[in-house]
Symmetry: C2
């Protein structure tokens, strides 16, 4: 091959990118602790290095702890939360399966779309955005559609800040001999997630919310029943990368020897970061982490209400880690968020879908969930709107 092909696009050299100082108090990514960033910046090693394999085993144990599960098949998918969603749906669902997806926001809508693309016949239940998924509607759908393969829902809707009753919905699915597919992207590490108590089957999350790790991985856990269902499939999983029966050779290894083999090249450095982020949670203790989220969130709720804002979601189903705050008359959404970012170095998020321009989403996630950050957000908003 000739190496003297004339080159085009000789590029002017751009400057080194310098990440601006930000306090991330939006819908994610959340603030990341320096120790996690430091862990990520270590020497890259091989994805089958013996040291890597030890680290992966520790990481899986820590994921089981945050998921509160004994599931063997627990590991992070090499991509964002949306890839974790596809991993769960595509391993469980086969073409023409009937699947119920409960929609009460953007991410339930997305799950329904992903499930349709997996070739399933999707039956949706719908609840008003800002409300929890109504288990009665799910039960009615199960009764009306015998032979449903799975029920999918979002535990913590990032678009609305509403928490649904995962235990109740998983139990309904099980009672009707259906699998449960559960999105815990915004709940894991922020509120109790208890996979074994729920009896949940295929569950995914993200690293960039309450786990306080940079985005790029989707922690996932499969019950033994869900693993068996993927092994019993009649059709191959659409995605080769996400096919559990293949990726297990890397994350679990040979059934007898435990020896790991190459499947794909996992994001080694991001995994090192996740290892440290999980270590910090283990060190603090899950209950303390949940309590810290709640305490910091309460400060923001009280402060915003005092300034005349109101909450979209009722207190009994309100996610502490993702507050949806209705804008009173006279607040210029874009202008205030812009000044928060540019003048105060604080990111909060806009409303999604029907809530665009109507509410703010303030994230109180991971390292962001500390009283001093909550106070800083309140001070900045107060300064901008008074």
């Amino acid at each position: 091959m000739p190496t003297d092909t004339p080159l085009k696009n000789e590029l002017p050299l751009v400057d080194v990118f310098e990440s601006p100082d930000r306090l991330l108090m939006g819908a994610g990514p959340s603030r990341v602790h320096g120790d996690v960033l430091k862990a990520m910046a270590q020497t890259t090693i091989g994805h089958l290095d013996p040291a890597m394999v030890v680290m992966m085993d520790e990481l899986k144990d820590m994921l089981r702890y945050v998921f509160q599960t004994g599931n063997v098949m627990t590991f992070p998918v090499s991509g964002p939360g949306s890839l974790g969603m596809e991993a769960c749906v595509n391993n469980i669902v086969e073409p023409d399966d009937k699947v119920i997806v409960a929609i009460n926001g953007v991410f339930g809508t997305r799950m329904a779309e992903v499930t349709r693309r997996a070739g399933a016949e999707v039956i949706v239940t719908e609840d008003e955005w800002g409300m929890a998924v109504d288990p009665n509607k799910v039960e009615a759908a199960l009764k009306a559609n015998p032979g449903v393969k799975a029920v999918g829902f979002v535990h913590a809707e990032t678009s609305t800040g509403a928490l649904s009753d995962a235990a109740a919905i998983c139990r309904l699915a099980k009672n009707h001999d259906a699998m449960s597919i559960v999105d815990t992207v915004t709940s894991l590490g922020g509120v109790p997630v208890n996979i074994d108590v729920w009896g949940a089957d295929a569950v995914y999350s993200g690293t960039q919310k309450c786990l306080s790790c940079p985005p790029g991985l989707s922690p996932m856990t499969f019950s033994d029943r869900a693993v068996q269902a993927t092994l019993d499939r009649e059709t191959p999983v659409q995605s080769w990368l996400l096919d559990l029966s293949l990726v297990a050779s890397y994350w679990q290894g040979d059934a007898k020897s435990g020896a790991r083999t190459y499947h794909h090249t996992a994001p080694v450095n991001t995994l090192m970061g996740l290892h440290e982020a999980l270590r910090r949670i283990v060190q603090e203790g899950l209950k303390n982490v949940w309590a810290r989220h709640k305490a910091a969130s309460d400060i923001i709720v009280a402060g915003m209400e005092e300034m005349g804002f109101s909450m979209l979601v009722d207190a009994n189903i309100r996610l502490p880690e993702l507050l949806t705050i209705i804008l009173p008359e006279g607040i210029d959404d874009t202008a205030v968020r812009g000044k928060l970012l540019n003048d105060h170095r604080i990111e909060i998020s806009a409303g999604l879908g029907p809530f665009a321009g109507k509410l703010w989403r303030i994230g109180v996630m991971g390292e962001g969930a500390r009283p001093e950050n909550a106070e800083r957000v309140l001070r900045a908003i107060k300064a901008l709107i008074s």
Copy 2:
């Protein structure tokens, strides 16, 4: 929701993970420069932060430079190279399309499997592992199968170290009104990749080979013709995450205003790393980078031949960045590689598939492709086998 569910799996705290010192001279990941690691370890910022959007635009320009293309649709997919493969195949291919995949190693085999899972009728051409793809076989398959939608092949087979004639195969595809799908995972940045001269349509790569960046992203470029084909599809792309018509809202933005909107949360920190890795290539100049790979590789080839090893691949199609080296009688594959790793801190890779135990794969990629690293590998091997 109760927050006092009894916790199980209270975990003993594991130690901070300390990445061992390694010189990565295997099939990837490759050695990463400290500046790239430092860039990755910067403060995480929002995936729609205005600073992020500027950085993304610079990153796309630099990708166009390394791909040697003017393609508008050029960006990194948020996952490993195998996800990039699925992105290319799944956007181009619709169920029941006829697709030719040329197989001359592990990754062509994988592409055929991915294409079958996309619902296509796959016609394979086969060449001996260690040989280039034979364009005559591709042409014969095109002639024998009118109406083929696409021709897929691997430019640089990581399993064998053989380089194929991408220009010739892309031209054949075009002459038969078929798209080309090209794997440049191991070639990009190591040998000339010239997308526009080839007239290639859907092309993916990886970051952890000759670009010398940690794994986790798959740079991708689509010709205008390939973009149009994805817009003209009759069926939705299997994967919601990979659907170009959706992900473009984040990487390209609104057609009129350029405003970016949320699609998925991209791996912000890994993107910062890639920005710096590409900046280093722009600074050095692509031709110099290719020449550096060749020079370091030549040192290893000469040294290994002197020690009695022989090369699997003929010099005219041999990848400088991935050398497949046949083991002479009496060399204990596992023992020597183990000692290289443990005593000399050097990783090289084993043979894959039929080559397991029969050859080594020495990578001369990115930061690894420097004379001092080549010499260090030779010294260590010499010490172990003499």
